[in-house]
């Protein structure tokens, strides 16, 4: 094809990249995909997701890997960075008709080398529970689509329970199932259980005997992803209405809200210590939100399109003892029993396995005071050469690493350091940071042009930036402490009187949700929801959705095109980073050999 030389092909696809800790290399022998590759036609649009489980079988390859591509689902032994893949021998391979797998999750508590439990969600709303090793179990939930007809967007086992799981749908609803209960032959009858700002929860009238146990209705439009905090007490949910909502799972209380700069939020992840949440979305940004301060800490700009998945790297995030107490002091948090810096293996093993017994007690208790996530889950690591550290990093002992992948086919790695975390809200950034952010997409940006001594009107950018915060007409109205703004909004919604109802309904109609078809059926429920116009406009300029100049803009440490196709998944493993693309190719990136490579 004549035109082929153009466009997509001009940027080389990277097979390695270098960070301060060293060089990451693509392991070509560790590439997973369908056993027989056919030319990709770009037609399947369900994102390819990857799930892992460590079955602890005593061999060098204890990990099992599951991925979906098109109408197929594969489970392989994941051989990591050292051994070559044998694609001809999947543990399990399933091909579905009429409905496509969209997401899956292994049970991380019930497993053995001979048996694992895998949940799979589908485009038509069904959920399947299978044992891909033993192949004996196969249960279907929502088989008749009486509970929800829309696509399953995210599915997770409840970390604090052995037989419950949570399923979110593009209808904007989320259901709690008990693995052992039937789904019934009739549509469920619901009764209100709990209601708050922008969400409501219902129970099935016969919840003791059938699924779903609970139905959550959250925001407007699809729920795109949800994630439990490492201590499993908190649940973060991101939606197409651009909101992140964080709940105390056991009490179903809304603890905090964030709004994207614009557009839907597509993905969410917790920092290993549970202090920060990172989201990615249709504003091409990654946004870091502080759980304790309830505010946006910074935004990251590096992607050239929507961000499909974000994940913290627990193995490269560092928290040093000396400065930790300083930072955590204001929160009244005491960390004890943590591993010393430099002990990689112990610290990191804790991360992937939350302390189940400790949390499950709390889980049953209602109205707990907001508890600190377990500090022990912070990994400590020093597996890079100190000589390559930037000076700022040696001074700041807190540094979180996270990664993101996007529809731009690029992988970005980010460092979240103490100087960013401690920057007070609303202070104007130094102009260099701001302009670097604005210009970073242009290769020959002109930072110098922005600090001109100029007699021309007010066109010197430096002076304008300095003025911007104070002179912006909207600054005074919105720049006040956010917590109050959010609280006021919520109390107002909560007390909407009957006479307000008519207006509300009218407005609701105008801003009918994205999944219009489905929400028609639940119009009663939807009328209780926050109106997107109001909340998006109201939150702008507050700590839940700061203006561009109110928080720092982070630049990626690494931003590399690693695929021809949109990237859909990223996970951080002890030895490697694993990425997946829409075409169904799973790549393994070996971490730097420690610590000698660092000096490059």
């Amino acid at each position: 094809m004549a035109a082929q030389s153009e466009g997509g092909g001009k940027d080389d696809i990277k097979t390695h990249f270098v960070t301060r800790e060293g060089s990451y290399k693509l392991m070509t022998h560790s590439e997973y995909s369908k056993p027989s590759r056919v030319a990709f036609n770009g037609q399947t649009n369900t994102p390819v997701k990857v799930s892992f489980v460590d079955v602890n079988d005593g061999t060098a390859s204890p990990d099992r890997l599951c991925f979906n591509v098109g109408r197929e689902l594969y489970v392989y032994v994941y051989k990591g960075v050292h051994k070559a893949v044998d694609l001809t021998k999947p543990i399990d391979k399933r091909i579905y008709k009429g409905t496509l797998p969209t997401c899956h999750d292994f049970n991380q508590h019930y497993f053995s080398p001979e048996s694992v439990l895998l949940l799979v969600g589908f485009t038509a709303g069904q959920v399947q529970l299978i044992d891909p090793i033993k192949k004996e179990i196969s249960k279907l939930y929502n088989e008749e689509r009486l509970i929800d007809k829309t696509k399953v967007t995210c599915i997770k086992w409840i970390p604090s329970s052995l037989n419950q799981f949570l399923v979110s749908h593009s209808s904007g609803q989320m259901y709690l199932y008990n693995e052992e209960l039937p789904c019934g032959q009739t549509p469920p009858n619901y009764q209100p259980f709990k209601q708050g700002d922008g969400f409501s929860v219902y129970t099935c009238k016969t919840k003791s005997t059938r699924n779903p146990m609970y139905r959550w209705v959250i925001g407007q439009g699809a729920i795109n992803e949800f994630a439990f905090s490492p201590c499993s007490k908190y649940l973060a949910v991101v939606s197409q209405d651009g909101h992140l909502r964080v709940f105390q799972y056991s009490t179903m209380d809304l603890l905090g809200t964030m709004k994207s700069f614009f557009g839907g939020l597509l993905c969410v992840n917790w920092s290993p210590d549970g202090k920060y949440i990172v989201t990615g979305g249709e504003d091409d940004l990654v946004t870091v939100w502080s759980f304790h301060e309830k505010r946006v800490v910074c935004r990251g700009h590096g992607h050239r399109s929507w961000v499909n998945m974000v994940a913290f790297d627990p193995y490269t995030s560092i928290v040093c003892d000396e400065t930790v107490s300083d930072v955590l002091g204001p929160d009244g948090e005491v960390l004890s029993g943590r591993t010393a810096p430099g002990v990689l293996t112990d610290g990191s093993n804790h991360i992937s396995k939350p302390d189940l017994t400790g949390c499950s007690q709390d889980y049953t208790a209602n109205n707990l005071p907001q508890q600190q996530p377990n500090g022990r889950h912070v990994s400590t690591s020093n597996h890079y050469s100190p000589s390559t550290l930037e000076t700022s990093t040696t001074l700041n002992c807190i540094s979180y690493r996270f990664g993101s992948v996007g529809q731009d086919t690029e992988l970005c790695l980010w460092d979240l350091t103490e100087d960013i975390l401690k920057q007070p809200y609303g202070k104007s950034r130094t102009s260099s940071v701001g302009l670097a952010g604005i210009n970073s997409s242009s290769s020959q940006s002109l930072p110098r042009s922005n600090s001109l001594p100029s007699s021309q009107k007010s066109n010197s950018v430096a002076s304008v930036v300095a003025n911007d915060v104070s002179s912006n007409a909207y600054a005074d109205g919105h720049a006040h402490p956010i917590q109050n703004a959010v609280m006021n909004a919520s109390s107002k919604f909560a007390t909407l009187s009957v006479s307000d109802r008519k207006d509300e309904k009218k407005e609701h109609k105008r801003n009918f949700s994205l999944a219009a078809r489905n929400s028609e059926k639940s119009s009663v429920v939807k009328s209780n929801n926050v109106r997107p116009v109001d909340s998006a406009m109201k939150l702008y300029g507050t700590q839940a959705c700061p203006r561009l100049d109110q928080v720092p803009i982070l630049e990626p440490l690494v931003c590399k095109k690693v695929s021809h196709e949109r990237l859909t998944s990223i996970s951080f493993r002890n030895e490697c980073i694993v990425t997946a693309c829409q075409e169904g190719i799973i790549l393994t990136w070996a971490r730097p050999e420690k610590p000698r490579d660092g000096a490059e």
């Binding site: 094809m1 004549a2 035109a3 082929q4 153009e6 466009g7 997509g8 092909g9 030319a39 990709f40 036609n41 770009g42 649009n45 651009g242 700069f261 614009f262 557009g263 839907g264 249709e282 504003d283 091409d284 050239r304 399109s305 929507w306 529809q407 731009d408 086919t409 604005i438 210009n439 997409s441 242009s442 020959q444 940006s445 002109l446 042009s449 001109l452 100029s454 021309q456 009107k457 066109n459 010197s460 950018v461 304008v464 909207y474 109609k509 105008r510 009918f512 949700s513 994205l514 999944a515 219009a516 028609e520 116009v533 998006a536 406009m537 702008y540 300029g541 561009l548 196709e565 949109r566």
Partner: protein, 353 residues
């Protein structure tokens, strides 16, 4: 057709069907889908529709026929139909268009963006001329810039063009108005990224040097264009037709460019009046096929919270999740042919009262 219409009504449901709203397909008079798709998109840009209908009420039938009166008659005809769904023939409008501009006086496929430009500018000129005519006596100062018409109030924004001389470092800036922005497209990017690209810094050197008035000579300079005043309706044209010299013709670039339902601009100037505007996607003109002079245009529009697809005389309700089918093609395979977003209409939320 009748079956289609009643099916649409059924699908929306009589309770859900918005009162005072009409969904009418437009008959194709031989490759006039470029025109139909733009007219439908404009009809669902509410501020524009309201002004056109107001115009219809203001000027009575005595008026000489213009493109604007034809447009007003067409919109009025849709808005006053007894039925809620159906089909109309925009015959008078097409005839007038062909009479007025020889570019459109044939049965070839035309560029929808060119037509949008022509239509908005013609309407604006007609309104300006009418204003002048009625104010002749009062307004003696003819040198002043004409008052903005409602076309300008709706679609016009301002760009500021900042140029920095690399010799004396002086920055000069010049403002220019726009009715829409044309942005370059890249594979697997977002409209947000394309807009950032629009405002990237460009270095003027060699034969493109810039005459600096402070240095009184041609100098190397850097320039960038950013948005200073954000319009009420932001029309974004994706430059999907590229001239290929070796082929001696235009080809279509079907790159996948995603566009969100909600948008803010990053490329605003530091002295922008209203940089915080939050936009909602209200209409998209989609090009289907492989080149500017072949293929087909359709449009998708948002009306009362749901999405409709207008394909000439056919109207369908679609789910918001189907919009992703119009982003373009992600890999190089079916590169030249696609159904891909070509003109995006974003409406500022504070105006959606």
């Amino acid at each position: 057709m009748g079956a289609n219409a009643s099916q649409l009504e059924k699908e929306i449901g009589s309770e859900q069907f918005p009162s005072n709203e009409h969904y009418f397909g437009l008959v194709n008079f031989g490759n006039t889908c470029y025109c139909n798709s733009v007219l439908q998109a404009l009809y669902f840009c509410r501020p524009f529709r309201e002004k056109v209908l107001q115009y219809k009420h203001q000027v009575k039938s005595l008026k000489k026929e213009t493109l604007l009166t034809c447009l007003a008659d067409l919109f009025y005809s849709v808005a006053t139909q007894k039925k809620k769904v159906g089909t109309l023939a925009p015959k008078k409008f097409i005839t007038r268009l062909r009479k007025e501009n020889e570019l459109f006086d044939n049965y070839m496929q035309q560029d929808a963006h060119e037509f949008l430009n022509y239509l908005l500018n013609t309407v604006a000129d007609l309104l300006t001329a009418e204003k002048k005519g009625s104010q002749k006596t009062a307004d003696t100062n003819c040198n002043l810039k004409p008052d903005p018409t409602w076309v300008h109030e709706i679609f016009q924004g301002t760009l500021t063009n900042e140029t920095r001389c690399l010799n004396c470092e002086t920055v000069s800036s010049k403002d220019e108005d726009f009715l829409d922005l044309s942005v370059d497209v890249e594979q697997n990017t977002s409209i947000t990224h394309c807009l950032r690209g629009f405002s990237n810094t460009e270095t003027l050197c060699s034969e493109h040097k810039y005459y600096c008035e402070v240095c009184c000579s041609k100098q190397e300079a850097q320039k960038r264009m950013r948005v200073k005043k954000l319009p009420q309706i932001l029309a974004l044209h994706l430059k999907r037709f590229k001239y290929m010299e070796h082929l001696n013709r235009y080809i279509k670039v079907s790159y996948r460019v995603v566009f969100p339902l909600e948008l803010r601009l990053f490329n605003t100037s530091d002295d922008a009046f209203n940089p915080e505007r939050l936009y909602d996607l209200v209409a998209v003109v989609v090009h289907c096929g492989s080149g500017p002079n072949r293929g087909h245009y359709i449009s998708i529009v948002k009306s009362h919270g749901f999405w409709l697809l207008f394909d000439d005389d056919i109207v369908d309700k679609i789910d918001a999740s189907q919009i992703e089918e119009f982003y373009g093609v992600p890999s190089d395979m079916h590169k030249t042919s696609s159904e891909s977003g070509y003109i995006l209409f974003y409406q500022s939320r504070d105006e959606m009262k």
